[in-house]
């Protein structure tokens, strides 16, 4: 039993935290959110130089071959900084999925570019019902003259407007088992027939509805085996959910620290409000929520890392950590009062992001329902 980061991971966290304090302050988060394009290119390039973009990828693609715990340690710091970069959708979600599922030529084409900071990719999975279930993937892929023709729509696609490639989950065959007949295809968002409609999230991520009107895709853009993509996609969704929990924990810890700091200096009735028992108990409850979120998150990530069955642990982690992050933010607002409610104050950056993250990669209820099946 060893419930701490190793020296290398601690060192990565420390240097990441210092770097992000300087290079990813709340002002940057605001600027990225306000900007229509919303891509912090300078920061992304520096992250490439730090080799963060290649952290979990195999060395043959220019990566560092780091394990999932190390990746989570970095993502925890990114979450703490309310990171507005495409790290999670590009590196964690799509990048690792491609590394698992794509052919060697495709991997050689795409992964080194991601690692160098020269390419962005994003996953397009969700459709109208907003669920990460195989039966929810209905976007049609018909085979015509040796090519795929895509028709339908994807929702909540992060950064569709700036990526070089969408990794789209399509239904290439319909049978009695919905998890059969799903294919992943790489699609250039600038292809003919694609329309991007910006969605406006409460969080800072740029999300899009992507409609496909008879979009043709050549067969060499298929990722892995036709019709057989679901197991890889399922694994990627769960892995991303688990890693995102680290971001949630990082963000929640930052919010707790902000709140404790505020409670120590805000004086009412001639005393710092942090000396009032009700305020102390709120903080204690937040601390308990966040500490147990960390533990559940890293137990899940260790299971994944050791390639042991992890569905149960991931479900516990995502269900708990997502809600813990939101709840921590809401309680933080309770303690901050009016000042925390202003846009001018930074707390709302985390709160809005927390709520958006709650439903990303599966809602808490979704994961609780999965858990019921294993009880």
């Amino acid at each position: 039993m060893d419930l701490a980061f190793n020296e290398e991971q601690q060192s990565l966290k420390q240097s990441a935290r210092k770097f992000l304090e300087k290079e990813c302050p709340p002002a940057l988060v605001r600027a990225v959110e306000a900007d229509e394009r919303g891509f912090p290119r300078g920061l992304w390039e520096r992250m490439a130089q730090l080799e963060w973009l290649g952290l979990p990828f195999d060395e043959r693609y220019g990566g560092l071959g780091a394990d999932l715990v190390t990746l989570a340690a970095l993502v925890e710091e990114l979450g703490r900084a309310c990171d507005p970069t495409p790290y999670l959708p590009t590196v964690v979600a799509s990048g690792l999925l491609l590394q698992d599922a794509a052919s060697e030529p495709l991997k050689q084409e795409i992964l080194p570019r991601i690692v160098r900071g020269e390419g962005l990719v994003t996953l397009a999975v969700l459709e109208a019902d907003g669920r990460y279930a195989p039966e929810s993937i209905q976007l049609r892929a018909e085979e015509r003259q040796g090519r795929f023709v895509l028709s339908g729509a994807k929702l909540f696609v992060e950064n569709a407007h700036i990526v070089d490639s969408l990794v789209v989950a399509v239904r290439s065959d319909k049978g009695s088992d919905p998890s059969q007949g799903i294919t992943l295809v790489l699609v250039d968002p600038k292809s003919k027939g694609i329309t991007l409609t910006p969605l406006h999230s409460v969080g800072h991520n740029k999300l899009f509805e992507v409609t496909f009107d008879a979009v043709t895709v050549s067969q060499d853009r298929i990722v892995g085996m036709r019709d057989e993509a679901w197991p890889y996609l399922d694994k990627a969704i769960k892995r991303t959910a688990a890693i995102q929990c680290a971001a949630a924990v990082g963000g929640a810890q930052r919010v707790l620290e902000m709140t404790v700091a505020y409670a120590k200096v805000r004086v009412q009735f001639d005393k710092p409000i942090g000396s009032f028992q009700a305020v102390q108990h709120h903080c204690a409850n937040m601390w308990m929520d966040v500490e147990t979120a960390w533990l559940a998150t890293y137990e899940a990530i260790c299971q994944l890392n050791e390639e042991l069955p992890a569905d149960e642990q991931i479900a516990v982690a995502k269900a708990w950590a997502s809600e813990a992050y939101t709840r921590t933010c809401l309680t933080a607002h309770q303690i901050h009062g009016g000042v925390g409610f202003m846009m001018e104050y930074d707390l709302q950056l985390w709160t809005r992001q927390a709520k958006a993250m709650e439903s990303a990669w599966g809602t808490p209820d979704w994961y609780r329902r999965q858990l019921a099946k294993v009880l």
């Binding site: 419930l3 991971q9 120590k264 005393k271 204690a284 147990t292 533990l295 269900a319 609780r368």
Partner: protein
């Protein structure tokens, strides 16, 4: 980073499980569940446990212990708690270790072998009618007289006084010192003249006690640690209690029983478990039980690393007690009108144990340090917020 026990620890777990499966019978559980008082079966089981050496699992080997790590102890208590039998509680979990840390060599020689063999039970004499959370305001007085101390006063909620042989008691030796600095710790037999024990029956139906001390004369050698260091000694004992207060296996056991019940109880061929509302509640409890298990590991791991888990241990106690109440409360609801039936009643489900656990949970939220103060500890010692 690693969330697993070692192969050696899993082997230890199998050994302990084997012993318990062999020696613990439903009769043991019934006897202990009835009133949480160790009867003849429980006492015999404790002596049998004593033969294994496991009662000294964490003690240094020079005192007859096994010198095992905190994580090994977690394994031991995880298995013990699954069976919910009497295993000496505080005596073996913390008082023995506190004696090893601060007791005199004579005290160690007198008490440790008997504790190790499961032949001794010590009850805790801290709380008084006027001193609960504010323990420092205790009034029981100990006055030096020659080679003895003479004790006068009263303790309340002295659980176990009616079956223990000795009491571990805090008394004021210097009324002029600041409250928490004028207190000393004594360890002496309950059959000392002047000691009167009276029962208090609680809402749970279990007996605790009042202990009256009237001119109780004990040799000065009964003092544990130096004079006026009693609070420090109590803190040392508490340090060793941290891993065990709010041990998670009880919550896991309660939840597993509830899940089993929901899977068996049927109305019109439909199990309670098939109701999505029921499933959601059970899943949420499962998440909480898992959080508690992980928190317990963190407390133990920190102690192994030489860190003091003030906030973590408080969190463990809070979580365990509140979860226990929530699970039992919900369980009684699921069981419907049968839930209200006591063990003596016809049709009482599972000997009315869930009801009893619910009643006990009332005490667990304030006993062993109220949850409000535990939250204060997290806020003040953990987060550095200022005292009120």
């Amino acid at each position: 980073m690693d969330f697993h026990f070692t192969p050696e620890q899993e082997a230890l777990r199998r050994q302990i499980r084997g012993f318990l499966d062999q020696h613990v019978t439903p009769a043991h559980r019934r006897e202990y569940d009835a009133d949480h008082t160790p009867g003849p079966l429980s006492k015999a089981l404790l002596r049998k446990l004593g033969e294994t050496g496991w009662l000294g699992i964490g003690w240094p080997t020079e005192y007859g212990g096994q010198g095992r790590s905190m994580m090994d102890q977690v394994v031991f208590y995880e298995e013990l708690e699954k069976d919910h039998v009497y295993y000496g509680d505080l005596t073996i979990t913390s008082l023995a270790m506190a004696l090893i840390r601060i007791g005199s060599e004579d005290q160690k020689k007198e008490f440790l072998p008997k504790i190790l063999h499961g032949e001794l039970s010590i009850c805790l004499g801290y709380t008084e009618p006027g001193a609960g959370s504010d323990l420092a305001s205790l009034k029981t007085r100990a006055v030096r007289d020659g080679d003895d101390y003479v004790l006068n006063g009263q303790k309340v909620f002295t659980t176990g006084a009616h079956y223990s042989s000795h009491i571990w008691l805090l008394a004021r030796t210097d009324p002029r010192a600041p409250k928490h600095k004028g207190v000393s710790l004594f360890l002496f037999p309950l059959d000392t003249p002047g000691v009167t024990i009276r029962p208090i029956y609680t809402m749970e139906g279990i007996r605790t006690n009042e202990v009256f001390l009237e001119d109780v004369r004990v040799p000065a050698s009964c003092m544990v640690g130096k004079e006026n260091t009693g609070f420090y000694s109590a803190a040392v004992a508490l340090d060793y209690e941290r891993v065990f207060m709010g041990q998670p296996s009880g919550a896991r056991r309660a939840l597993d029983q509830l899940i089993e019940y929901c899977k068996t109880f049927q109305i019109d061929g439909r199990r309670l478990f098939d109701d999505p509302v029921v499933q959601d509640r059970l899943v949420r409890f499962h998440i909480d039980v898992e959080r508690l298990r992980l928190l317990n590991y963190r407390v133990a791991w920190m102690i192994e690393r030489g860190l003091v888990p003030n906030a973590e241990a408080s969190a463990q106690k809070i979580l365990a007690s509140e979860l226990s109440q929530q699970i039992t409360d919900q369980a009684l609801q699921f069981i419907g009108p049968y839930g209200q039936l006591r063990r003596s009643s016809p049709h009482a489900p599972a000997q009315g144990l869930m009801l009893q656990a619910w009643l006990l949970s009332v005490m667990q939220r304030f006993g062993g340090g109220t949850n409000e103060i535990q939250r204060d500890i997290i806020a003040q010692r953990g987060l550095g917020l200022p005292r009120g």
